[in-house]
Symmetry: C2
Subunit: 405 residues, 2 copies
């Protein structure tokens, strides 16, 4: 059950990018599971990748190809992560790139492969190879909706965002899709996010944008604390908008960054809203921290506490669990007396104990809502950090106990 | 459902220690919820306490009293943790000590208070005060069984261990009880453990024993990663055995340490076996680590992964989740090719991929058992560490979603 997640937007096509989707029967027959993004010449691609040290073969191949050649195709499959497959995983990822290269006359290095799904099962290369002609035949200027569906795993809804802004009187388009649901504590970006714009962006600026915006959005969400082996967030700039080129000192960079940030945030939050078994969308805001690290330590300790997450599922204002989580977050010399905890607008903890005027009824009122903000003030310094997560429900257990069956 | 946890043993009484239990109606009427341990003069007590920085009022008071006077009474209540109650929590814990002191003619400082239960609700001091006469009237040489029941919260079974050894031809008795169930990732000892012996042990040796053995047992278990605010593990030595006094260089220390270690381990494992919603008892053994820290980082990352824990609940050999957890454990420069993962006796991962000869059937066979060992070899150094945990089941969610209702 997705929390406050609406239908897909009407996507604006991005000039210089075509999308084709196929049903390759990779895990199950009859569903969209193979997506090809075809880039016009001159398009630039930058990405951020999982920091899981056992990153999947396609991640390794994508990084290598990105460094070696100008990308022309992104090849995405769901249903199999091609992770934990040893040397064979690399060969298989490579084989998929070569298959697409043969069909398009481009080099295998111009193909960036992405996989999502179960870990440790050999990639069904033959099915992917067999599905490619259908995907190429379907290439269209606006296949975003089909692509959003074609990258889903345990997601209950497809995720996308699209918008246009004016730069110097010229229209710039941004469209993007993402997927998530489980094994989500991206350590750079969620598995997977693809955002494209027709803006003409300097290569180094593009990389700094995806790094900065990925950090502020996808790197601040967590479902279960499990960082996937396959996470990738890719930002594509086709450069075909008539708007002026964007360089590091361009007066238009702030406006473009803002528009991109909105798209990144919407896609990142959509993953939490559709987290496995999620019934609540939780914002954890840590204020007055002495450093970014301690702010994030506190926020993630709360966000990953099974006791806090089950209390949120139960709409139970069991704030002692939040307090205990703050206390075990590993922040040195934390003064209980200085801590403030608010649930929505309701003061929960002051002077090391229950706030004056707090009543169970007030707490229950906030906990009954589907979107809840937990504010913790550490009274130590100037740093604020925000993390987004969801609750831990029976459905999370069911989904992950039955994932492979 | 407790995993392989038998009934309480026949406890040996510990000379110099009496136990009285009462039904004080602290949270619910009609259950044992108040326990008094009365120590003969000359008994020594050492403890290790929660490292949660918001430790509960009774923990602070116990530490203070332990430093100030010779302990004569341990006063334990379940049903209320007296944590997160600010200044009032300290006053209330103190008031309970004074009430027992008045009834016994001892000083309030000779009373060590312990509380377990819900956090953030005022301690019902009047009920505790009213229950004390009944507990004192029940004081008996062998009230261990009632005490094991009297400290339970969400535990489904009481936990205890008792044994006798011969030192220099003289009998030494060790008896102990513990409780746990949830908010269990002790950072020193579980909430709560009480072990008593009639051995005559030098004070500094007693403290080093409880520190060393608490670290090796209670500090290596985790249910949900949530470190309680109230954890305490207390080791009592009444000194009334006829066996020779134990000093740091005593030839009998190793034998006593071994016997104590067995009791600590049994009590710690009992808490995992009775973890909230537990259906499996999991041993995670990390070998060939470069340091204790990286061994524990890997072990706890696996032990806390909701994806690994739900797969264990489902008896699903979804080893990719174990591999992904190792990869995100934060160990620098981890070489996937060097990693070995075994499930029981079954090789799972070799050379970065699925081990030759591994079949789903073999994996399922091991996962179907209720006691499972996961072995990870990092191929980096000489260090081995073991951590014990349980799976994540629907019952864990149910128990913690309904804990206060």
């Amino acid at each position: 059950m997705a929390v406050g997640l609406g239908p897909l937007p009407d996507f604006y096509p991005v000039a210089g990018l075509q999308i084709g989707v196929a049903k390759a029967g990779i895990k199950k027959p009859g569903r969209r599971d193979l997506v090809v993004l075809a880039l016009a010449e001159g398009a630039q691609v930058a990405g951020v990748f999982t920091r899981n040290q056992f990153c999947a073969a396609p991640v390794l191949v994508t990084r290598r190809h990105l460094a070696a050649a100008a990308p022309r195709y992104l090849l995405i499959n769901t249903g199999n992560a091609n992770a934990g497959n040893g040397a064979r995983g690399m060969t298989d990822a490579q084989a998929c790139c070569e298959a697409l290269a043969e069909l398009t006359g481009e080099s295998a290095q111009s193909v960036l492969p992405f996989s999502t799904g179960v870990i440790g099962e050999p990639l069904p290369v033959d099915r992917i190879r067999a599905g490619l002609p259908e995907a190429l035949a379907n290439l269209s200027d606006n296949g975003w909706t089909e692509a959003a569906q074609g990258i889903m795993t345990t997601d209950t809804l497809p995720k996308g965002e699209s918008r246009q802004i004016e730069l110097d009187g010229k229209t710039v388009t941004i469209s993007g899709i993402s997927k998530g649901a489980g094994m989500i504590r991206p350590n750079m970006a969620t598995m997977l996010g693809f955002i494209a714009t027709d803006a003409n962006i300097d290569g180094s600026v593009l990389q700094s944008l995806v790094s900065e915006l990925g950090e502020a959005s996808f790197n601040r969400i967590t479902i279960d604390g499990d960082t996937s082996t396959n996470d990738c967030c890719m930002l594509i700039a086709t450069g075909q908008s008539q708007a002026p080129a964007i360089t590091a000192d361009s007066p238009h960079l702030p406006a473009l960054r803002e528009a991109l940030r909105d798209v990144f945030m919407t896609l990142a939050h959509a993953i939490v809203r559709d987290g496995e078994g999620a019934t609540k969308f939780i914002t954890i805001r840590v204020e007055q921290a002495g450093s970014q690290q301690e702010a994030l330590d506190v926020a993630y300790t709360i966000a990953h506490s099974p006791l806090v997450k089950t209390a949120l599922f139960a709409s139970d204002p069991n704030w002692g669990r939040i307090l205990a989580a703050v206390g075990r977050a590993g922040v040195p010399d934390l003064a209980l007396e200085a801590i403030e905890i608010d649930l929505g607008e309701v003061p929960l903890v002051r002077q090391g104990g229950r706030a004056d005027g707090y009543t169970e009824a007030l707490g229950k009122q906030v906990m009954a809502e589907t979107e809840i903000t937990i504010r913790i003030s550490l009274g130590r310094g100037p740093v604020t950090e925000t993390v987004w997560t969801c609750d831990l429900s029976h459905d999370y257990v069911t989904i992950n106990a039955e994932y492979r069956t």
